[in-house]
């Protein structure tokens, strides 16, 4: 069998596998992009909106670069960080969006859940994909 035929056969089998994934519901339709989880918001959806940004990355990363007007939310000391965030939110109530480094960093998701308990009247989101997704969307 020629090498070209081998590659063609491989392609057919891979395509069949991908169809199986879609048919069995293991994979969502890729043309819809990354599925969004409850409480998350996409970078492209939040861009340009007036929100209170909270940066839950390490201080060194925050000092290097952060979303304009974002407050540093120390994940090591959330109680103290909450005071700053609550003060900013009470002064100017608006939706809060918290982010960490990237999607694989779960810090912001956990902090968002914790903040919803601490500030039950606030509208709180976790930025999907975090800082990495924000940079990508620029």
């Amino acid at each position: 069998m020629s090498l070209l035929r081998e590659f063609f056969l491989l392609g057919i089998l891979v395509l069949a596998g991908a169809i199986v994934s879609l048919f069995l519901g293991w994979a969502s339709h890729p043309w819809h992009g990354l599925p969004i989880k409850p409480g998350e918001i996409r970078a492209e959806d939040v861009r340009g909106l007036d929100v209170l940004w909270l940066d839950a990355r390490p201080e060194s990363a925050y000092a290097k670069a952060h979303i304009k007007s974002a407050l540093w939310f120390n994940p090591e000391d959330p109680e103290a960080a909450l005071l700053l965030a609550a003060d900013a939110w009470l002064t100017d109530p608006k939706p809060i969006v918290i982010y960490c480094a990237s999607e694989s960093c779960a810090t912001s998701g956990e902090l968002a859940e914790w903040l919803r308990i601490q500030l039950p009247d606030a509208e709180i989101y976790n930025l999907q994909g975090g800082w990495a997704a924000w940079q990508k969307s620029e």
Partner: protein
């Protein structure tokens, strides 16, 4: 000197079989969690910061199946050479991806064997990842060379 009619020794055959088994085990083990969790895998790809969201989702759908089919294909005469070449190509891509992530100081999960998060895990050891992939690439190269040489011998015969 032509090797027509020279059959491989028993140790050569065993070595080749072991190489194929290692590659198949590694890639099949890597593929299955990704097939079952394509969304998490797409996020891992996104974190490498080399492609956008939509590209990540498409890659997450097809790449694990490519790994699985090629892993099994190493034992299928009809797919053997192409499978070896594709796996070698994938390993080169992985080495480049890990290299750039290391150079950029990205603290992300490898995503290699279903490790989709760095939460509660030690930091990604890029040196180990590069070494591991280089060893797998060398193994893959041996298998490819043997398969291509066998094919040439069959044609000449």
């Amino acid at each position: 000197m032509a090797k027509i009619g020279v059959s491989p020794t028993r140790s050569e055959r065993l070595g080749l079989l072991a190489a194929r088994l290692v590659l198949t085990a590694v890639f099949a083990t890597a593929a299955i969690p990704k097939i079952l969790n394509p969304t998490d895998f797409a996020v891992v790809i996104l974190n490498y910061q080399v492609c956008g969201t939509y590209t990540s989702v498409w890659i997450a759908l097809f790449l694990p199946w490519l790994e699985l089919v090629c892993a099994i294909g190493l034992f299928a005469p009809a797919l053997r050479r192409a499978s070896g070449l594709v796996l070698a190509g994938l390993l080169i891509v992985f080495i480049l991806l890990h290299g750039q992530a290391w150079a950029r100081g990205l603290e992300i999960a490898c995503g290699c064997f279903g490790d989709f998060t760095t939460l509660d895990r030690p930091k990604t050891n890029y040196a180990w990842l590069l070494l591991r992939n280089a060893l797998l690439l060398a193994t893959c190269w041996l298998v490819i060379m043997k398969d291509l040489r066998n094919q040439q011998q069959v044609r000449v015969a």
